[in-house]
């Protein structure tokens, strides 16, 4: 029994050391572990304090958008781009800040949508909601 306990303690110690090393050495791991938004991301709390018009873009699949979404958000995902982009462009105005979200931190679609808006539509103020729809739901207590 004592041997087993020592083994577990050894694993625990080793894992702690590895985690600490990853935290210190790898910037990606540090960002992941410290949960800090990347340069092109914005935390929900900060988004809520923004002044001026904000256009929320929901980059999740259409079925997920239909179930629920951030109020006033417009759907825009890469699969239905040509049909959805028109509504976005019809609402956008110069000076509007665009915030794109998808499911969660593991989801890359919001970044792909944001990059496409910057590259092909010359939108210069596009951010990604850090944590995506999951962050919104967490803040809403769901």
């Amino acid at each position: 029994m004592a041997t087993l306990r020592r083994s577990w303690l050894g694993i625990l110690g080793l894992a702690t050391l590895l985690a600490a090393a990853a935290l210190v050495l790898d910037p990606r791991a540090r960002a992941l572990l410290l949960d800090a938004p990347a340069a092109d991301e914005i935390a929900l709390a900060a988004a809520r304090t923004l002044q001026g018009p904000v256009l929320w873009i929901d980059a999740r699949p259409a079925a997920d958008f239909a179930r629920n979404h951030i109020p006033d958000a417009l759907p825009l995902n890469l699969d239905e781009w040509d049909t959805r982009i028109v509504d976005v462009l019809a609402r956008w105005q110069p000076g509007t800040r665009v915030i794109v979200y998808c499911d969660d931190r593991a989801c890359s679609t919001s970044r792909a949508v944001a990059e496409k808006l910057r590259r092909e539509y010359q939108f210069d103020d596009v951010l990604i909601l850090h944590g995506g729809w999951s962050a919104w739901q967490t803040a809403a207590g769901k």
Binding site: I11, A19, A46, W56, W81, L89, P94
Partner: protein
């Protein structure tokens, strides 16, 4: 932009350690995957790309895959059957639609089995662009002279491609398409807006690409912006 509120570092470390321990523990998942990651290069003319994830039931009981979830509408997973006997091999085939994507694109597929194990398969596509635009959106501010504006289309080198036609959903926006060189790989699309206040037009560029002349369409938008009072109603305030 504000950073998230800092949280306790020891707490983070402890949480991470817990995850690391969980990862270090022997797993009892019966399905052993050949690889959890796949990469595929998608040529410009391709409209679908395929890859597969092989696995074997390394346990001593049958395993049933209860759900395969693709996090993106672009990814269609296919499973030949759901239940696998001990020692039996299987695979999940992935069909990827690269439409509207270019460069590196990441997607994932989540597989759940009846032994309560969930596995995430990662997929990275490197998509060669076929058509690029310098912009797909032009607009005129209120009071701005309604002089024509331009969008430029470029076909990637090495792929047969041509413009079939260019049409405008509102004919009051006048469109003119001009090749920029003899190779007809680059085109200027000029948009002349009407003098009166009209919201927008959708310009559809129909192209024929590849040896089989497959049709691909791209929508561009030209818009005359409303005066600020109307604009403030259009853009929504944040929740």
């Amino acid at each position: 932009m504000a950073l998230a509120a800092p949280t306790s570092l020891p707490l983070r470390l402890a949480t991470t350690a817990a995850f690391a321990i969980a990862a270090a523990l022997p797993t009892f998942a019966a399905l052993k995957w050949d690889s959890l990651e796949a990469a595929v290069k998608v040529r410009a003319e391709e409209t679908v790309a395929h890859t597969r994830y092989g696995f074997v039931n390394a346990g001593d009981k049958p395993v049933t895959i209860t759900n395969v979830y693709a996090g993106c509408g672009c990814t269609s997973p296919r499973l030949a059957k759901n239940t696998y006997a001990p020692g039996e091999r299987g695979e999940i085939q992935i069909a990827f639609d690269p439409r509207n994507r270019e460069g590196l694109y990441r997607a994932s597929v989540t597989v759940t089995s009846d032994d309560s194990v969930t596995t995430t398969l990662q997929f990275v596509a490197d998509i060669e662009p076929l058509v690029s635009f310098d912009t797909r959106f032009v607009f005129w501010r209120p009071g701005e002279p309604r002089t024509p504006k331009h969008m430029r289309l470029n076909f990637a080198e090495g792929h047969p491609a041509t413009i079939a036609d260019v049409t405008s959903s509102d004919p009051r926006f006048v469109i003119a398409t001009t090749p920029l060189d003899d190779s007809r790989r680059a085109f200027d699309i000029e948009v002349a807006p009407p003098a009166e206040a009209i919201n927008y037009t959708v310009i559809t560029v129909r192209t024929l690409v590849g040896a089989d002349q497959a049709e691909r369409t791209f929508n561009l938008v030209a818009r005359t912006l409303p005066a600020p009072a109307a604009a403030s109603q259009a853009a929504q305030a944040h929740p």
